[in-house]
Every structure is written in C-alpha cells, then in structure tokens.
Amino acid sequence: MTDATTEATYSGGSAGPVPAEDPTAFGWLNTADHKRIGRLFIACSLLFALAGAVADLLVRFDLASSDGHTVLNGDSFVQVFTFTRDSLVLGMLIPLFLGIAIYVVPLQVGAPNIAFGRAAALSFWGWLVSAGVLVGAYIANGGPAGGFSDGVDLHLLALAGLVISLLTGAICVAVTTLTMRAPGMYMDRTPPFAWSALVTASMLVVSLGVVLGQIVILYIEHRYGPRFLGGNYGIWSRIDWMYRTPQLFIYVVPVLGVVAEIMLAAARRWVFEPLALYFTMGLVGLFGFGAWANFGITNEGADIVDGLEGIVLVGLYAGALAGVAGLLALLGFTLWQSRNRPRPRSGAVSLTRPNTAVVAAFGAGTLIAVAALVGLIGAGVDWLQIAGRGTDGNAPLRFTTWVTGQQSLLIYGAGLLGGLAALHWWAPKIWGRRLSEPAGFASLLAIGGGALVAWLGPTLSGVFTEQPQFVYGAPLLTTRYASQVDDSGAEGLSALGAVGVVIVLVGAALVVLNLLVSVAMRKGAETEADPWDGLTPEWLLPSPPPLGAAAALPELTSGTPLLDAELNGNGLNGTGAAAERDADEVPA
C-alpha cells in the first residue's frame, strides 16, 4: 500500500473508471463526477429554498388576517402549506447537504470519486425530475387536498421519487465514507463533516424507508379506494412526521459537522477525545428518528402506545439536546485550549478574525441547541398533559403553531445558516473562488435574524393563543383553521412570523446572488489550495481539485494532515492528535 516506487494509479473501489470532464451540456447530463453532481445539487436546492420561502410567506400572510383566507382559499391553503414543507425539506434542506457531502466527502476521506458515481448521478436527475413532477402535480391542482384526483396520485408518485432519489444519494455518501477511505484514514480519524454525513445518511435510510411504505399504501388507497384513510385529505397526516421534529434533527446533523470543521480549524487543534465528537453527532441522529410521531397525529395504534408517548417524546428531545450540547461543549473546550496558540499566517481562519463561515457556523450550532431545548420544554409540557397532570383543556403544543416555530428554527436557522457556512467554507474548494464576504455577512444577518423572528411569531402564537398548526383530515376544517386566527393575538403573531420569512427570503436571495456574482460571473477572488489553513485532507488538494485527485493524497496518518504538518514542521507523516497531546504534555 505504501510502495513509494509506483505511481498513483488507484482508480478506486467500485466507483470504477470515471470519464474525463466534458465541458458541454451533454457532459453535465452524462457526468458521474462527484464534483459536478455536488454542484448541481447545491445550485438546484438553493432555488428550491427560494420557492419554499415564497410559499411559506403566502401561508403566513394568509394566517395574518382574522377574516378567513385572504391570500389563498381552503384547499389551496392546504396545497401551499404542504408544498412549503415539501420544497423546504425534500427540495432544499436534505439535497443541499447531500450535494455538499457528495462533493466534499470523497475529498475528505481520500476517495477518487463518490461510490457508485452513476447511481449518484441518477440520484440527482431522479430528484430533479421528481421535484419537477411534484411542482407540476401542485399546479394541476393535485397534492394533499387537491381537487384533481390524478394530480393527487402524481404528487404521491413524485414524493416516492424524491425519497428514493435522496436515499440513493445518501447511500452513495455512506458507502464512500465506509468503504473508500484512503489507507490510514481509519474511522476514528474521519473528518467531522464526513462522519456527520454518514450519520445522516444512515438515519435517512432507516427513517425515509418508512415513508416509502406509507406512500405505497396511500397511493393504493387513494387511487383504488375505499378511502378509509381520508383520501386526499388523509395524506398529510401520515407523512407530516418527516417534516417535524424530532425527524428534522436528522437533517441538520451535517450542520453540526460543518460547525465542528470550522471551529476546529479556527482552534488549530483537534478535539482531545475524537470519539466524543463522533458519539455526540451520532446521538443527535439516533434520537432524531421520527417515524414514531405518526402515532401522535393519526392516533392509529394510540391505545397501544398510550402512556408511553409522552415519555418517548421527552426522551427523544433530551437525547438530541444532550448530543448537541455535548458537541458544542467539546468544541468550546477545544477553542479555550487553543486560546494562546499563535496563528500560523495572516489568512488563517480564527475567532479573532471571524469571517462569514465562522459566524454562520457559530449561529447555526447555537440555533440547533436552542431548537433542541425548546423542543424538550414543549415535549415536557405535552407529557404533563398526556399524563393528566396540569391539563386545563389546552391543545397539546405539538398541534399548535409551536411546530411551525420549530420548523423555522431548524430549517431556516440551522439548515440555511449552516448551508451558508458550508458554502462560504468550501467555496474555494468547490468553485476555486471565494464568495463575497460583505454579501455573506449581510445574508447571514438576514437569515439568522429572520429565522429568529420567524420562530418567535408562531411559537408565541402556539403558546398563548393555541393557534393550530394544521387541521388534519376533515375537508371543511381548513376554512375553520383560518377562522381560528382571531383577535386573541394570533393575527399579529402570524404577521410577525411572516416578517421573519421576508427577512429570511432576502437573505436566501443574497446567497444566490452572491454565488451568481462570485462564481458564475467570476467576480470572486481566485484562491489557493488552502485559504483558511484548514485541517482536513481536502485542503491538501488544488482548488478545485481535478478528477480523482484525492487518490493521489499522501498516506494519511490522521484526519488532520495539515495540522500534523504544522506541528511536525516537516511533512505529512506526523501522528496527529496524539502528537499534539504529547506536545502539550511535555513541560516547557
């Protein structure tokens, strides 16, 4: 494996030979190159972020009036409401980080390409076509509560296509991390983002698989009847759990990986206990498994789980909170340990010279912790009600706009802000150019601030006015849903949430604009291989790296070869964290 006399001809696992990059459109259509697939996922998912935020805005404006539906009507309200969740989660949140993972993970673990490059390409095109069909189904008056029966069926098929495509991409990422690591890159040396991608991919496989089974039943029930599940009005209650907490925590585990990558680079230090780093991220993923939540909404089998539901709720949120808090504490301790370490050069990223990536990562990590804490509080309140203690006839919080608040915090706050951090951090590696820092700071302020306002409005409304999050099942109840927005304060709080979404939308538009100007129009500064003084192996490669470049990495003896080089001063064969610990333990 380490024969110095041979050339780097490793073609890599099952990825097999990969065609050279063809600059034509056909080349992009036919590509099996992980870099192109990743870029395609990133670009298209950002467009879905804009579409989803606009749809969310329509819903929130509609709820900001006590005169019933003002922007939408009963059925279209349900359609736009559900499209918002579809596009923000299946169109933006999962594919954005999947795209980043497809690009970055092979470089981090030293693989020449993503595992099953063709399958990864199929994942993108399948996702894009399914997303197009989904939008078409909604336009044709399909989707939940849709009036066009075939359109409703088409929506279900599109959902199945989206889930299968995303699962295919997730499997490619997971297999790359597990089986295509370069010699020396053991699992306990895996860079944090690669590990977080593995955690999310694994949890997506076991959780979205359940959705597939549900979709099959819903499709047969709706197409052939009898509609014992409620037909087009019964769809949402059976798939809604994949857009809610705790399942949302699974989707934002890669954000924790991004936070860890950036914070450790800022600290110029590896964590004192890598297993704790991996364990905490795994904990968040594990406790994010949300398929159980179906019982909480449909009441099917509720008598079986009666009495357990509340404690399961509390336990899941507590586990997720423990994971997030543990990770942030670990990173904070590492930063504190490195407080007196001199910066190696002026361009290095650090907390004393924060850039967009550092601040956005800090913000995203904090917002995930806040979401977990708020979720735990809400679950505790609901548990007391389920247990019959302290109930005063109030609606459980999980049926109020409290849920919308959590979605805002995790999708906009953690997801979009974490995505912004990842894009700024890896833009030099992905496009060979830096993104504009002023535009980046403006977008992070807008997204972070907007997400907080978008969270605050519906959360307060859920607590104080018990404004329902959604009315499941009954066709006519959606009109009543809007009428529940009365003068009790829900009207103003919904408007507050709408203002938050407007601000988020401005921030998301700025991100897209920044990419267009800095990358597409080539206005961003060209960059060297390692502009941030990163730690992990991808920063050893040119920016952007040529196809298969990661296979030519030197033998890795840790997940932080650049840190090893800095500590040893003479190359890339140091002993990583162990060397750092030893150096610290030797008295001066």
Binding site: I171, T179, E300
Partner: protein
C-alpha cells in the same frame, strides 16, 4: 497554489498507489446493506400500518375484516417453500463462486432465477383464485398494497440476481470477485424474508 499543494505533487516516501484491488473492496455489499435497511423499513412501515388498521377494524380483529374471503393457504405455503429453496441454491452459487467453480455458480444462479419465476407464477395463481379486488374493501386495499410492495422488492431482487449472473457470464466471477454476487444474494435473502413476513401477517394472521 500554496505550499501544501506542491507537497501533494512532489513524489515522496509514503505516497500510496494501489494498482490492484482497492483497499476496501466491499462497496457493493455495503451499499446493498443500506438498500436492504431502507427496504426493511419500508416493509416494516407498511406492515405496521396494516396491523394498526387491523387492530382498529372491529371487535374481532382479522375475522370481521376478512368475512367471506378464503385464502388458498397450501399454494401460498408452497410458494414460500419454493423461495426458501431458492435461497439455498443462491448461497450454493456464492459458495461455488468463492471456490472458483463457474459451472456450479451458473447452475446455482439459474436454479434460483427459475424458482423465483415459479414463485411468481404460484402467487399470481393464488391471488387470482382468491378473487379479491383492490378497492373492494379496506383489507383488500391494504393487502394489495403490502403484497405489491413485497412482490416489487422480489422483482428488484430477481433483476439484481440476473444482472450479477450476466456479469458472472462475462467473467466477473471467482474467488476474488465474489462480492457482487454475494451482494445480490444478500438482497435476495432480504427479499425472501420480507415476503415471509408479509405472508405471515397478511395471509396467516390476516
């Protein structure tokens, strides 16, 4: 370019190169494992939904639900036994592949595929004999959905087995290259298990 880039490009001791097999050649097996996990959760989710509806179907769950419907148990049992035997022949093929015995490998795969086709023939016969119509009731609709999901997984499994068999005809079979065939058989094992669970829940417990 930074200094680090030049470090990458400069030849130095420790640079690795692997002209032979990759260091961890089990990508296809691991990928199949993830696909199996997703499929298992899909079947579990569908069966869970079926059982929850059955539980809520009446005073005498299952019996009330299936009033007037007879299930041809012998045929379905024979179908299951056929599948179980196909698992044995599939593993025979993998075992033979590991020993480099191409003839045995191909015979094993061919028998597996033939028994898979025989299974589908028997199940189609049984379902036709039951004369239940999708949409005629809650049980019929759910049974159709859950059975269809399991049969779809078996079809994918047969396609996968067929593809790997064709690859083996092209020469990709032998002691060092048995993983793709083993991965396909692993998926087949799962598909058979998924059908067995579906058969027990829908046609035995009802």
């Amino acid at each position: 370019m930074s200094d680090t880039t030049s470090t990458v490009e400069a030849p130095q001791p420790g640079r690795y190169s692997v002209p032979g097999p990759p260091p961890r050649p089990r990508s296809q097996l691991v990928g199949t494992g993830f696909a199996v996990a997703a499929g298992a959760m899909a079947v579990a989710g569908a069966l869970g939904h079926y059982m929850a509806r059955r539980h809520a179907s009446g005073v005498d769950p299952g019996h009330d639900w299936l009033a007037g419907q007879s299930v041809p148990n012998p045929q379905l049992v024979y179908a299951l036994i056929t599948l179980l035997v196909s698992v044995v022949t599939a593993h025979w093929a993998v075992w033979a592949s590991g020993r480099g015995e191409r003839g045995h490998t191909w015979v094993g795969m061919a028998l597996t595929l033939v028994m898979g086709l025989a299974f589908f023939n028997m199940v189609m016969f049984s379902l036709n004999r039951m004369e239940f119509e999708v949409g005629s009731g809650e049980w019929a609709t759910l049974a159709y959905a859950v059975t269809g999901l399991s049969l779809a997984i078996l079809i994918v499994g047969m396609f996968y087995l067929g593809l790997m068999t064709l690859r083996s005809l092209g020469g990709s079979v032998g002691r060092d290259r048995s993983t793709p065939l083993g991965a396909a058989v692993f998926f087949w094992d799962f598909a058979v298990l998924a059908w067995a669970a579906t058969w027990y829940v829908v046609y035995v417990v009802k």
